[in-house]
Subunit: 209 residues, 2 copies
DNA sequence: GAAAAAAGTTTCCTATAGGAAACTTTTATT
DNA sequence: AATAAAAGTTTCCTATAGGAAACTTTTTTC
């Protein structure tokens, strides 16, 4: 009986618990969430049971973290209780008391120069902003200055503050913009701005993802 | 031979499938998702197994929709494969071919007047934007013109284009801004802008939620 | 404040999830 | 093409989830 070969896969192997697996996963809270949702709606387990088609006992056990529900049960919960699935394991977004403000005086932003632009980043005091505003002096005079389309996630808005520029975009004809003109476009589409005035143009950009 | 004996549990029962349960739930696709993620990363079941600490067979069964994984298993999947939980049941956001663009020439936006401001809405051709840009002529000269703080969801950025204004915010001292100055703040905080120059001031606003 | 009703928990059992190993299919390798 | 190796599936068993009903706790009602 020489079955020496496949007898022991994983002789003393670490079936994957140590080497990798960043076990920093915060504890599930799915039970807590469920209970919160149910009580907020003033539902009894019985009512929740009727709504979801799950047994009263099952719901109780889930709420008390005695069992880990299967995905199909989670779907019944979401559907029956009229909530989105992620609500079951995402703790309610703490309606943070927001009162942030950051004033940037003209020319006082954080400089950031490239070959083609000279950016002045605005509102750099605030982290985790929804928008990234900056003013840029446009050095580029033609497409070749770039060589490639600029392309990134999100959407972009720009307003011309000084001079005249051309907004080149992948799927459109170039647009000539003068002071006061603005444009809004998907930044995933190739795009770039070149100056068509004698002096460098000045524009305001804002991106949001 | 034993497998066939107990084949039909649930003789013809529908354990709770009829009465309630709005079954408009799209079929799970969790298996499909998992397989997609795994193959995209060129992982074998064996590798995925090592990463997640789950058995090869379990992964196979999940991928083939033979079982509905428990939440704890889903957590191991997310953690081990370095993905966010919702990725497991949210079909990959169709990287929509975005190529929208809207140019608004100076003064050509959609007008919208109030007692205190004269707004010019920009980029009105695009729906579902992440940002709402507009230019506003500021009539207001003092707080009383408003009577109340302006307050709404999201964040706001403003840049002074002409004149001089004061930015009044609930939790800060008033800030005096001249042409080129800008400010970024949480719009949930009471805020408003008044002109402090002889003429009406002109500012650019952008809000994002 | 005792009895009844309702809400919630635990028990006990069955159905199903998850793991180890056998088996099958696919992919290299010669 | 035959063989070996790797990847994937299925089987079989154990652990656990989920349901029905008994039980306990809380709330209501008289």
């Amino acid at each position: 009986m020489s079955k020496h070969d496949q007898v022991d896969k994983y002789p003393s192997m670490t079936i994957g618990d140590n080497e990798n697996n960043k076990r920093a996963v915060e504890k599930s809270t799915i039970g807590v969430q469920l209970k919160a949702i149910r009580t907020e709606n003033k539902w009894t387990l019985e009512e929740a049971s009727k709504r979801t088609g799950l047994a009263r006992s099952t719901l109780s056990k889930i709420e008390n973290e005695q069992i880990s529900p299967t995905f199909s049960v989670m779907q019944k919960l979401a559907s029956g209780l009229n909530i989105e699935l992620p609500q079951l394991f995402t703790k309610p977004k703490e309606t943070k008391v927001t009162g942030r403000r950051d004033v940037t005086l003209d020319g006082q932003g954080r400089p950031h120069a490239t070959l083609t632009y000279e950016h002045e980043l605005l509102a750099t005091q605030l982290r985790n902003k929804k928008m990234m505003p900056y003013k840029s002096r446009v050095h580029a005079r033609n497409f070749e200055h770039f060589g490639e389309w600029v392309r990134h996630e999100g959407e972009e808005f720009l307003l011309v503050l000084e001079g005249e520029v051309q907004l080149l975009t992948e799927f459109y004809e170039p647009a000539t913009l003068v002071v006061g003109d603005s444009a809004y476009y998907d930044a995933t589409m190739g795009h770039l701005v070149i100056s068509t005035s004698k002096e460098d143009a000045l524009i305001l950009w804002i991106t949001a993802e």
